[in-house]
């Protein structure tokens, strides 16, 4: 089976598992109790509840040092079943007694199996009819939506998923760090390198422990699933707030396909990272605030369902999840809260609502902070990257020096003029000049950081600034115009305000504001929100015009469908479809293929992989790892007099014949291992630097020379397990009771090398 096919099945399994966690499990417990009408709302709520439950459950078990597959299984399913019984008032005792009675009668011969079956047939028929009806309601009645969702999944798969079938390795350098932290959870060590948002790790650990999927497989492929969820959540939100049926598709189509974003805006979706995972819970914050006010409105008019409390609880959950998974998500969620507070200011500042919202905010912060505080109480400090983040927020970081950048580039007639704030203010006056400066600054930041357009067309970006007045204008129009559209209007204002915040967020340096989030991250959120603002703006405009028509629903749906079709035609015929995401893996495909084969075929913990770094964490649950630099270092200058023993029966050596750069390209990147590479001094073995840039080429060249010499000495014990143009894997079979000494003389390790300074001299 090819690795691509293996990856496909792994992805299917992972998708099924994630669906189980985020949809089926919550639906099983709450499906009948919540009685939600909208499937889109269900999807958002289930996703939040499922993640909240799993993350906090795993956290509790880890803190109690009892996080093992058995305990996770018990603590996952027993509360679920108990909760379902309680919520649905299921008469368990009666059901059990009834079944026992049937069994007793069957065993005693009073009831024949045939008779029993014939008695049950009408029930089964009824059940089958219900299933059929359900399918009819869900799928056939909403065929366009079903097709639409399949279409969304398809474009997300094409745009963000196919890269996983071309590059099997990790696609971001910090994935291996997260892998390490998740591995440590197997030893009930939750904050192994310090306190850090743990939500993402808990989810991966849960899937690994309960479903037996290796961590490295989850981390390789969860990226696509989290991207799908991020986009589906935005889609569901749009479906719930937009007035026209098909306008939400435009946002998704543009965001997934349009050739207008920079690669930096979305390449991170190729890697399974907490920030991107945390993005799943940002839009739910917006939705639950919206839903709360909508429900509050209903309740103030006599609705007795008291569902507003539910939405507040869900708001607390989703806000705490952003904090639990990645702090940057919390910053954006905070901005959303402020934007909604402004948009819904009329209702928000009512005493009752304000009190409830403040309690919710406190609760959500408490839920999020308590676990981290526990970590600190346990004596763990903040993880290094978190210290960096805290410094960013407090403006103390070395690399976050806040400088007021008054200079914004702009073209004048000569095309080269650099205009600064003071010159603009001088030209247009203080007030207008400041406004012009702000608009240009945001436009330029969009140009440099978010959108990929020709410099000549830079002014097109003002369209994205036009969204703000459009949304706020439409919002005010709806608020003033009709009472029943006031929630929609306030939502439009909120999104308009949010868009202002996002524009400021990507221009913090220019405006001289504290850089609470570096541009590399804020651009991801900015780009993401375009998939909400664009369709919602269009929807607002459409609703203004269609609202005056008699058959407004049907017409607005038809127009929105036309807009979708037009967008698609424009993208395809205009050549505006971007290339699908292609991100190189840190590891060669051959290495991942070999690793997968070894994990699947070899007896657990009977093997060791000698390689450069990544397999160290990937193989942790099945075998051992030995650093290639450590091997070479232990025989440098001492040859066979050194002693390197690796205590497993099988030893696999991964050598890159064309070494990668490992995120650090150099002048001769892509060169093959060679004797010239061997004739260099072995790099220092500390840290990652020995595997980066030219050092990797030297290490791999030396390792290849060693492996060939070792194979010469042990021809029957060493075999080539896998070889391609770029990669070779050797398999060494040794007697575990009398280990080989891997230290040998391979010529290059016994030479005295001049230090680099001497060569340069």
């Amino acid at each position: 089976m090819s690795m691509a096919l293996v990856t496909f099945f792994q992805l299917l399994k992972l998708l099924a598992v994630y669906l189980f966690i985020t949809v089926f499990m919550p639906h099983f417990v709450l499906g009948k109790t919540l009685k939600l009408k909208s499937r889109y709302e269900k999807f958002i709520i289930y996703t939040v509840i499922g993640n909240f439950y799993v993350i906090n459950l795993v956290y509790l078990l880890l803190i109690l040092h009892i996080a093992y597959p058995v305990t996770i299984f018990l603590f996952t399913f027993v509360p679920i079943i108990v909760l379902k019984i309680i919520l649905e008032n299921i008469p368990v005792k009666d059901i059990v007694l009834e079944k026992i009675e049937i069994l007793r009668r069957l065993v005693g011969g009073q009831l024949k199996i045939k008779a029993y079956i014939s008695q049950r047939i009408p029930e089964w028929k009824l059940w089958m009819n219900k299933v059929k009806l359900h399918f009819y309601r869900v799928y056939f009645k909403n065929l366009t939506d079903v097709i639409g969702i399949i279409f969304i999944i398809g474009i997300v798969f094409w745009s963000f998923g196919l890269t996983h079938f071309e590059q099997f390795g990790y696609k971001a350098s910090d994935e291996i760090v997260h892998n390490y932290w998740i591995n440590e959870m197997s030893d009930n060590n939750i904050f192994c390198t310090g306190v850090y948002p743990y939500g993402f790790h808990c989810i991966v650990f849960f899937m690994k422990s309960l479903f037996g999927i290796d961590t490295y497989i989850i981390l390789r492929l969860l990226a696509w699933i989290e991207t799908l969820w991020v986009i589906l959540i935005a889609f569901c939100f749009l479906k719930l707030v937009c007035k026209s049926k098909y306008m939400p598709y435009i946002g998704i189509i543009v965001y997934s396909l349009a050739k207008m974003y920079k690669l930096e805006d979305y390449w991170r979706y190729a890697a399974s990272l907490p920030q991107e995972y945390g993005m799943i819970f940002i839009v739910p914050v917006l939705y639950f605030l919206y839903a709360f006010f909508r429900q509050q409105r209903k309740e103030s008019r006599g609705d007795v369902s008291n569902r507003s409390r539910l939405y507040l609880m869900l708001l607390a959950m989703s806000f705490s999840l952003t904090f639990t998974i990645h702090f940057y998500g919390t910053i954006v969620a905070g901005l959303i809260c402020v934007a909604v507070a402004i948009g819904f200011c009329v209702w928000c500042f009512k005493v009752r609502n304000l009190r409830r919202l403040l309690i919710t905010a406190l609760l959500s912060i408490l839920i999020a902070i308590t676990p981290l505080s526990m970590g600190l109480i346990m004596g763990k400090g903040f993880q290094a990257s978190l210290n960096w983040g805290m410094n960013v927020l407090s403006g103390k970081g070395d690399d976050v020096e806040v400088e007021v950048d008054d200079t914004v580039t702009d073209d004048d007639e000569s095309g080269k003029l650099v205009t600064n704030r003071y010159e603009i203010e001088e030209k247009y006056g203080k007030v207008i000049g400041s406004a012009v400066f702000i608009l240009r600054a945001v436009r330029n930041n969009m140009f440099y950081n978010v959108f990929s357009i020709e410099r000549d067309n830079i002014n097109v970006l003002y369209i994205f600034l036009l969204i703000i007045p459009t949304l706020i204008g439409c919002g005010i129009y709806f608020i003033l115009r009709r009472d029943k559209d006031s929630v929609y209007g306030m939502t439009a204002v909120s999104i308009g305000v949010l868009w202002i915040f996002m524009c400021i967020l990507i221009s913090l340096v220019t405006f001289g504001l504290p850089v609470v989030m570096d541009t590399n991250r804020s651009r991801v959120y900015f780009a993401y929100f375009t998939c909400i603002t664009i369709p919602f703006t269009l929807d607002s405009i459409l609703y203004i015009f269609a609202g005056k028509l008699n058959d407004k629903k049907r017409i607005s749906n038809a127009i929105s469908l036309l807009c979708v079709a037009f967008t698609l035609v424009l993208l395809i015929s205009g050549g505006f479809v971007r290339e699908r995401l292609k991100v190189n893996g840190a590891e060669l495909n051959d290495a991942i293929t070999c690793l997968t084969k070894i994990i699947n075929d070899e007896k657990k913990f009977s093997w060791t992989i000698i390689s450069a770094n990544d397999e160290n964490r990937m193989a942790r649950d099945s075998g051992f790892h030995y650093e290639i630099i450590r091997l070479l270092d232990n025989m440098e200058y001492v040859g066979a007099r050194g002693r390197v023993c690796i205590p497993t029966e099988n030893v696999f050596v991964f050598i890159e014949k064309i070494p990668g750069d490992y995120y650090q390209p150099y002048e001769n990147s892509g060169q093959s291992i060679s004797e010239a590479g061997c004739e260099n001094r072995l790099p220092m073995s500390q840290g990652l630097s020995c595997y980066q840039g030219e050092n990797r080429w030297i290490v791999m060249s030396r390792a290849y020379a060693w492996a060939n010499k070792f194979m010469e000495l042990y021809p029957n014990e060493v075999s080539v397990y896998w070889e391609s143009d770029e990669f070779i894997c050797y398999k060494i079979v040794q007697n575990p009771y009398r280990l080989f000494n891997f230290a040998i003389d391979y010529d290059y390790n016994l030479r005295v090398y001049p230090v680099r300074e001497e060569i340069e001299e």
Binding site: L713, K731, R738
Partner: protein, 610 residues
């Protein structure tokens, strides 16, 4: 009152039962043609033994090899080591060049040998180190059957480095036992260290050895075990005293044996295993026969009656038929054994008891039922010559109404010299194969003359020591052959409690469970069946070649008989075989049963990602 009708019915039923039982016994008796030896009909290949080209430079022969198809042995053919090397070359169908000093061997202009075997008593390693290095450079691997003296190794860094010894930890250390690692000899990993008091009697190995510590580029096959060593090495396995190891040089390898293993038949298997270690695969002919010999069973005369009754409360005849034979049958069924029983008309000719013809016939019948071959035992108590014994036995066999022809005989080693004379006697004139005790100077398998083969004993079941087990594994590795004896003369004339049947039986049973278990895949044969295979084996010549994953074996001299080969690999498995069948013995070892002159094997490498 019983009615007439019921009475009739009961009578008929009883009659039917009676007839049924009696009929089976009658049929068994009438159908048992026990006086005819079926094995006599076995078609034996004629003697055209493979002719080894031997060039003894010490004896003044001229060097005659043009290619590298010979083994160079530096030593004396007439020593134990020389005899073993000579036998191994014969069985593995290799030519041999022998010299007792390297000065007699001139490599210049001649093809280098395939393999160099050195008896260190015939070389000065320090002075001749350059010669050995030059051999390694030419790609010739070297086996040091014995190592030079400890002082030589200790005092010379170059010698130590050449042999792969990093240092000598102690001049002498008493080990607790030995560990033979798997993959070298057949039979898997074996620990020769008694764990229970009852196993201590098995330990007969020399436990005092020099402590050689091997270094990089070596692979160790056997080590001494130390339970309580708390030295600098913290009891690490890698520092246990090396006993058999190799040092790799890329072009060639140096095998070292620190011990006296090459002067016994253990050497045969060690050499086969070493050759296997040198190549990616190895194909060589084997016998594929496992014989279990019941020597002096049954004894037909009621000898030693008084003492026997004291111990066993019955005479020999009753004890043999009521106790021993049923137990032997159950043993055979449990371990799938095939017996060759060497009938002894009389063991102690000073005893007045006479052989019993009825007992003879009874046992022939038993044997015929159980696929057991009846041979004749030429063993006897001291005080009579072999010829006189046979003359006495002749009278007994002449007196029998129906004559049974034995084709196998068991010979006492002391009578080996008088075998040629004895074989002329009418009662043994049809004997085609003789089993006798092992003597390192006598080949295990050979032709005594054109008609008669010799198959030496290789193991014994009742007293299997660790040395004997190592020998068993070696011979199984080299020849796929075992001639295990169960000698009953001592049971019938016990000198100590250890010789009594109940103890002998327990020992036999435990040894068969433990030590023969790895070799159950080999065919069980009687001595006559084995004889046929031995003849084919001795006549065989073969050649093999490999292209990619396909091995081609060309067999010559099998005369339409089935022959057997051993295939040993390193991580490869047989995928397909044309021209025969195969059976796995253990990982990387197969028996090939070959019925044609050309065989093709397709291998798959399990160490490669498919």
């Amino acid at each position: 009152m019983i009615s007439k009708r019921s009475f009739f019915t009961i009578s008929v039923v009883m009659l039917i039962v009676l007839v049924l039982f009696q009929f089976t016994q009658f049929a068994k008796y009438e159908g048992n043609n026990y006086t005819f030896n079926e094995l006599e009909k076995l078609k034996m290949p004629v003697n055209h033994e493979w002719q080894q080209e031997k060039c003894n430079l010490t004896a003044g022969n001229k060097f005659s090899f043009k290619d590298s198809d010979y083994i160079l042995f530096i030593g004396d053919e007439n020593t134990a080591v020389g005899s073993i090397v000579s036998q191994w070359t014969l069985y593995s169908k290799r030519n041999i060049c022998i010299c007792d000093s390297i000065s007699q061997f001139d490599l210049s202009g001649n093809a280098a040998p395939e393999f160099l075997i050195v008896d260190s008593n015939f070389t000065d390693l320090v002075a001749e180190l350059d010669f050995y290095r030059s051999m390694i450079d030419k790609g010739v691997s070297i086996v040091f059957c014995t190592l030079p003296g400890l002082e030589v190794i200790k005092s010379n860094d170059e010698v130590r480095e050449f042999l792969g010894i990093t240092h000598i930890e102690q001049d002498e250390v008493t080990v607790e036992g030995y560990k033979l690692f798997s993959g070298f000899l057949l039979g898997g990993e074996t620990v020769y260290q008694p764990k229970k008091a009852s196993e201590e009697r098995r330990q007969d190995m020399d436990l005092t050895i020099p402590w050689y510590v091997t270094g990089g580029g070596t692979k160790t096959y056997m080590v001494g075990l130390l339970d309580d060593y708390f030295g600098d090495y913290d009891n690490k396995n890698e520092f246990f005293p090396a006993v058999i190891w190799r040092k790799s040089y890329g072009s060639g390898q140096v095998f070292c044996i620190a011990g006296d293993y090459m002067s016994t038949t253990s050497g045969l298997g060690l050499l086969s295993a070493m050759i296997n270690e040198l190549s990616e695969y190895q194909v060589y002919p084997i016998v594929n026969a496992q014989n279990t010999l019941l020597v002096d069973f049954p004894i037909l005369a009621n000898e030693n009656e008084e003492e026997f009754k004291k111990i066993y409360s019955r005479d020999i005849a009753a004890f043999q038929s009521d106790v021993i034979w049923p137990m032997l049958v159950s043993l055979a069924e449990k371990y799938d054994l095939k017996y060759t029983a060497f009938v002894s008309p009389k063991y102690d000719y000073s005893d007045p008891a006479l052989p019993d013809a009825d007992m003879y016939n009874q046992y022939l019948m038993y044997f015929n039922e159980r696929d057991t071959e009846a041979g004749i035992s030429l063993e006897h108590a001291p005080g009579i010559s072999l010829v006189d014994k046979l003359a006495y036995d002749e009278e007994f066999f002449d007196s029998l109404e129906e004559k049974y022809t034995s084709t196998s005989a068991f010979l006492n080693m002391e009578d080996y010299e008088s075998l040629n004379e004895a074989i002329q006697m009418p009662c043994v004139e049809k004997v085609r194969t003789v089993a006798c005790a092992e003597d390192v100077m006598i080949p295990i398998l050979s032709y005594i003359d054109d008609d008669i083969t010799l198959q030496s004993l290789t193991s014994d079941t009742e007293n299997l020591t660790y040395t004997k087990d190592l020998r068993l594994k070696s011979i199984e590795t080299a020849l796929g052959f075992d001639n295990a004896k169960m000698i009953f003369s001592e049971v019938f004339n016990p000198k100590s409690e250890e010789d009594e049947w109940q103890i002998v039986y327990v020992n036999m049973s435990s040894a068969l469970t433990t030590y023969w278990a790895p070799f159950r895949v080999f065919d069980r044969t009687t001595l006559a069946e084995s004889d046929q295979r031995v003849r084919v084996f001795l006549n065989l010549d073969y050649d093999f070649s490999r292209k990619n994953d396909e091995i081609k074996i060309k067999v010559d001299g099998r005369d339409d008989n089935t022959c057997y080969f051993m295939l040993r690999t390193h991580g490869e498995e047989i995928d397909e075989m044309k021209g025969g069948t195969y059976e796995k013995i253990e990982d990387n070892a197969y028996i090939l049963t070959i019925d044609s002159d050309e065989v093709k094997l397709h291998l798959v490498d399990t160490n490669t990602f498919k």
